[in-house]
């Protein structure tokens, strides 16, 4: 649900990074936080366990600036990836405008990726809003590691919507901003009327 405040001339969009545990969702957000000028971003909020695993969500607001007289912001969230936190994931998805599904490219993480992808769609379908109006991007993370799936195989498994695919290594920043820009553009395109 894009939040449009005509009086304050503001639009806020919500983007959620989704994926299995340790796939690199928080790493994406942390990289963006490190690289972006403090004037264009807010505080990075993380609700994590003592072992730095996400417990509830990470949150980072980013400002695009003023577009056609409207201050435009993107609020980035991550979900906790571990399977037993599904109630928290549903809460974070409320009012979402765009989703980045972060896939761990390693062959050994096949089951976790598929479970998380199916869980994403279960949770989206439970919401009363139509998922076809969401911006969706598939980020294939950890492309720098050995023993990984091909892009074609992962696309076959985790992209039934034919969404844009970005190869990434979130730790070093490869593909991180490309993913962000792609999902932001999708979100705006989906929210605009023809």
């Amino acid at each position: 649900m894009a939040l449009i405040n005509l009086a304050a001339r503001e639009i806020n969009y919500k983007i959620v990074y989704y994926g299995c545990g340790l796939c690199g969702k928080t790493t994406n957000i942390q990289y963006i936080h490190r690289r972006v000028n403090p004037g264009a971003r807010g505080r990075l909020v993380s609700i994590a366990t003592e072992e730095e695993r996400t417990l509830y969500f990470d949150f980072l607001p980013l400002s695009l600036g003023t577009v056609k007289g409207l201050r435009t912001r993107f609020h980035l969230y991550t979900v906790p990836g571990q399977s037993f936190y599904n109630a928290s994931r549903k809460l974070v998805l409320q009012g979402v405008d765009g989703v980045v599904f972060v896939a761990d490219s390693q062959i050994s993480r096949l089951d976790e990726n598929v479970d998380s992808y199916l869980n994403l769609w279960d949770n989206l379908m439970e919401q009363s809003e139509d998922p076809s109006n969401l911006g969706i991007v598939l980020q294939m993370n950890k492309r720098d590691l050995g023993n990984i799936f091909s892009v074609a195989d992962l696309t076959e498994l985790l992209n039934h919507t034919g969404s844009p695919v970005i190869e990434a290594c979130a730790l070093t920043g490869v593909g991180v901003f490309e993913t962000l820009k792609t999902v932001c553009k999708q979100v705006i395109a989906k929210s605009s009327r023809s």
Binding site: A2, I4, G42, V45, Y56, P61, K68, T172
Partner: protein, 167 residues
Amino acid sequence: MARRKGLVINDEQMQMIDGVLTKLQRVTGSQFVALISTSGQPITTAPADVDADTLSLAALAAGSFAATRQLAEVLNEREFSLLFHEGRESNLHVMQVTDQILLLITFGRDTQVGRVRLYTTRAVEVLKPLFEDAEDSDEGEATTIDKEYSREAGTAIDDWFPGETDK
């Protein structure tokens, strides 16, 4: 399935809403009053300045309230419509206005909780119909998020964070 609808607040509605918040802040003697969406985005505040901490506060309060609602469900309670955190120096009170809107208020030790509860409840009675009108309307969205906005935003995103995308 219904088309996803944004919440659109026009100038007139916002003036009335800001009037209610300013009055609420005055009569309760509170530090800060904000209306936020249940998805964690600030809508308007009294005083009016929205800074980075307001964005964090909105995201965290909405998350906390959402968790409270789920707690109610687990306990077979229809709803917990109120969330209250008591601190040493300041307190946080969050109340549901509509399915999409929360009213957040912070106040110090010199303000009585009962006073905040009483006036917050009255404010919610005034705010609720205003937001129900805003939720029912997509008129502003149609005129605001048009092709031109989409094109200009696309260009702004292309120019966003130069030097980072090539990595």
